[in-house]
C-alpha cells in the first residue's frame, strides 16, 4: 500500500503531500505521523499541501486530528503552501482547521517552528 514519506530534520518532521489522497492514505499518514512524533520526540510537524488541488472535509479533519494529536504529544503543527483556490473553498465549505497554525511556504513554516512558543 502507498505511503506518504515523512522526513526528519532534527526534532522536526516534514511531510509533503503531492498526490491526490484517497481516504485510507490520509488515515495511514495520521498513524505514521503519530508514531514518528513519539519515536523522535518531535517538537514540530510541518505539512506542505502545495501539491493538493483540493482539501475536502475528510482531509481537513485529518489535518485537524494530526494537529490535535501532535499538541497532546507536545509538538506544534504548521500547515504550509495552501493554494488560494483551496483556501477560498475551505472557508465556504465551513472548515476552519482549529488548532492548526499556518504559514505561506516551507521557509516561513520552518521559521515559525523554530521560534519559541508564546507562553501565556
Amino acid at each position: 500500500m502507498d505511503r506518504i514519506p515523512i522526513l526528519k530534520m532534527g526534532d522536526l518532521l516534514l511531510v509533503t503531500i503531492q498526490v491526490d489522497m484517497h481516504d485510507q492514505l490520509a488515515l495511514r499518514l495520521q498513524d505514521d505521523l503519530t508514531e514518528q512524533i513519539r519515536a523522535i520526540s518531535a517538537r514540530g510537524v510541518l505539512i506542505d499541501i502545495s501539491g493538493l488541488d483540493i482539501v475536502d472535509s475528510f482531509i481537513g479533519r485529518m489535518i485537524s486530528t494530526i494537529a490535535g494529536l501532535a499538541s497532546i504529544m507536545d509538538a506544534r503543527t504548521v500547515l504550509v503552501g495552501m493554494q488560494p483556490a483551496v483556501a477560498i473553498t475551505l472557508v465556504e465549505l465551513g472548515l476552519t482547521l482549529p488548532g492548526v497554525e499556518t504559514a505561506l511556504d516551507v521557509d516561513r513554516g520552518m521559521r515559525l517552528l523554530r521560534t519559541p512558543r508564546d507562553t501565556p
Partner: protein, 134 residues
C-alpha cells in the same frame, strides 16, 4: 437548457471518490469554469461521492455539460439505493452528522455550487443534484 454531453461514473468504492474528483476536474476545465469554481465543484463532488459510498452503500454519479442562455454548466447527480435520509432538515444542518464526519458534507457542498437539490426518503435511496455555472 441543452445537454451538450453526458455520462455516468461508478461510485461504489472508496477509491472511486478520487476517480470522481479527477473526472469532475476534467469536466470543469472542459466547461471553462475558472480555477476557484473548478476547485469548489470538485470539492463538492468529493463530499457527495464520499456520502454515496459511506452512507448510500455505493451508487453512481451522472454528469452532464449544459448550455443555458449562453452559459455553460456542469451538472452532477449522485444517486444511491441506500437507506435514505429520514430527516432532510436535520441532514441540512451545519455540523449535524449521522456518522463520524464533521457534518459539513451536504451543507458545505450546497454552499460551493449554484444549484443544489436533495431528494431522499427512508428506504428510497438518496439523490443529490448540483450545478455549477460559468
Amino acid at each position: 437548457m441543452i445537454v451538450r454531453e453526458s455520462g455516468t461514473h461508478d461510485v461504489t468504492a472508496e477509491q472511486h471518490v478520487v476517480l470522481a474528483r479527477q473526472l469532475v476536474r476534467r469536466l470543469a476545465v472542459q466547461c471553462g469554469l475558472r480555477l476557484v469554481d473548478q476547485t469548489k465543484v470538485v470539492t463538492a463532488a468529493s463530499e457527495l461521492a464520499r456520502n454515496t459510498v459511506i452512507y448510500g452503500g455505493g451508487g453512481a454519479m451522472d454528469w452532464a455539460i449544459l448550455d443555458r442562455d449562453g452559459r455553460t454548466g456542469l451538472r452532477l447527480l449522485f444517486r444511491d439505493e441506500g437507506p435514505g435520509i429520514p430527516n432532510l432538515d436535520l441532514a441540512m444542518t451545519d455540523g449535524w452528522t449521522s456518522g463520524s464526519g464533521l457534518g459539513l458534507g451536504l451543507t458545505g457542498a450546497r454552499r460551493l455550487v449554484d444549484e443544489f437539490e436533495l431528494d431522499s426518503a427512508p428506504g428510497a435511496g438518496t439523490r443529490v443534484s448540483i450545478i455549477k455555472w460559468t
